[in-house]
Symmetry: D2
Subunit: 221 residues, 4 copies
């Protein structure tokens, strides 16, 4: 079983479709029930969905309680964007950005480690190339994504010797609803689609007996 968060749109939805097509058992999650249903309805009946606000520890508990057995992978795609010069950003939107990206990643990873650290579970944390470099006009978004990277790198050290694996994914900008909802208007016609990114990510998530691809950056171009 594979758990996918942020599955009601974008990369999460595209991954849900891809994995479902090859018959995987899935538990997909998002905040918006209707949009989540629009994603899950066309998929196979091995796909279960459950709404959750991942910034709340209780919602995450409830999400994992739904799993009848230990998931093989957890792919954390949830997140949101918010952009603009720092002085033009609104406090409420900044707080939402932090919740949607930082708090949710911490709470999700915390519960995953709590439950599964002694098992061979792969946790894939999807961030952004904004986690790897500073960018003008994206200061709080970079802050949020750098936070998640600091979290992932630190928890890797805590998991030394554990069979649980953390995989860090850094996609560049995709042509998804992410942009309109972030308040940033830009021409995304040359951007990769969520389907393209999902195809690449799924293929690059490869492991062998003694190793695995642990960090993946997906660039535009």
């Amino acid at each position: 079983m594979i758990v996918i968060t942020g599955a009601s749109s974008g990369l999460g939805a595209a991954l849900a479709k891809l994995y479902s097509e090859e018959g995987a058992e899935l538990l997909i999650s998002g905040r918006n029930e209707q949009r989540l249903r629009e994603v899950s309805d066309p998929l196979s009946d091995k796909v279960q969905s459950k709404t959750a606000n991942l910034s709340r520890a209780d919602d995450i508990k409830a999400l994992f309680d739904t799993c009848l057995h230990t998931p093989k992978s957890i792919i954390h795609c949830a997140g949101s964007g918010y952009f603009g010069a720092l002085e033009d950003q609104e406090p409420d939107a900044i707080n939402a950005l932090i919740e949607n990206n930082v708090t949710s990643a911490i709470m999700l990873l915390r519960e995953a480690v709590k439950r599964y650290k002694e098992q061979a579970v792969t946790v894939v944390i999807v961030m952004s190339t904004a986690a790897l470099a500073a960018k003008a006009g994206e200061s709080t978004y970079c802050a949020a994504k750098w936070a998640v990277r600091g979290l992932v790198e630190s928890v890797r050290l805590e998991l030394k010797g554990s069979p649980m694996k953390l995989i860090a994914v850094y996609p560049g900008g995709m042509a998804t609803e992410f942009w309109p909802s972030s308040g940033k208007s830009l021409d995304t016609s040359g951007f990769m689609s969520a389907d393209e990114a999902a195809t690449m990510l799924k293929q690059a998530l490869v492991g062998t007996e003694h190793g695995y691809v642990s960090d993946i950056t997906i660039a535009r171009g």
Copy 2:
């Protein structure tokens, strides 16, 4: 005038004392009124104090409204610690950690940029060596500090050409109340004191006509 946040203890209090001793006009801030007064009372009458919860944009506005003229420097020392294996950390304490370190740094820097970006104001953001490296047992603290570093590096790009300067400071662990309040018990007898760190930081904050020290790491040892 110099504004110092997080001045009710630790490095912030030590810096307030040092700058006050050489006659500087100060505005110091902290969350706890009584502790802030214990710091400010023994200092010169050029030291003004004002409580503020820096995770609230309104408190920050009120703080800067107190300044009769543009501050020469803003030294942001506010922050708190919280440690332990990720799975043992409590949601409420994680939320407080994010507020005290991430939200407050964003809100403070946002207001400073908003007001003073066209002026020669130096904003010193005190983080921690945890902003520079991942650490087991400090995953959420590293997350919070990496966030602030991502913020600072991005806002630097936004300030290109502006007379405002951002200075990043990364102190190693000090022997302060920070540790007891973080829930981590460790022997800090060989750690530098807040006074030592303040002395070094004050001296290293040097600039000339065409340049300035922009990043300072202060190590133990």
Copy 3:
């Protein structure tokens, strides 16, 4: 056509085998003629080999002059290791380490950019996880690998808008002849084999119309 350097052993040899098995046209290179022949002899007759000392610009010119048409990919695996406490390292071995890793990567990438920067050529630069973090006992090796990373990241900026793509690969330690030849003796029984790493790398080197996997870390475990 695919050009593979460092193909006389380790990851380079394993990649040559894999690509050859699926019928690719290859030009493989290494410093030692006999070992290179031992790799190429069992492979298909679409595999051409040519010795080259990649720290010499002329050898690299001669290598690419051998290509009858523009290669689709250049996979640079050449490199060597040298370890130990800094004060115990020998000047001659340090110089060889720098040549084999830094000079060769610069000279190879320089020639590739010179010839092919206006074409859709993918240059894969294989480094090491030592390019991503400092390590005690590996100071000069880290220096050499950090150099290559600095090179790759900078040349990426120079190639902005060019159809040429640079892909950075960071494998963890493999169970290959690399270790005996580095003077470091360690138990590599749990390490991934070069074949495992080659299988993962080949699969993760994926691209679509608007994007591609640009950075890949392959971890042990």
Copy 4:
């Protein structure tokens, strides 16, 4: 006693002047005897000079053999620049760049660690902001400087528990002979002078009983 390398011009010469003015005993080094003498002649008679090619281990031995007692600090300023699009760079100049920056730093630090690792010697390694970020048009220079940073960070780990301290310094571009000699022509009229950088660096090199400033970036502006 303070040892300063790269003292025949730029930051090294400026530091020699500053430390000499306050009566410090110095051993200064450079490759060019005449230029080194032009620096040392006007200084106090507590300043000794010795030519050395720091990419040769023997020259470094001879340099330190000149020290009658253990130096308190070693300030390594030697280095050179070379710029331009990678494909336009010349192999010989690339080799010289590597020698002057990478090989010399390794050999110098190796000898310093060998002799003094059990003593309270401070080794200051002056790099460049090019060690901290990739830059178009500076690919090999960034490579060289990233190498030195990888070296310094790794040797720090090897020195854990040793009284020897490594201090990393990252100055931005200065208005010195560095630029004409690098083949890059640019307007440096707004750059800081070597004297300004030396003044800031000297002041920021501060330590107390339990701590010290370990990393200093000096920015233009």
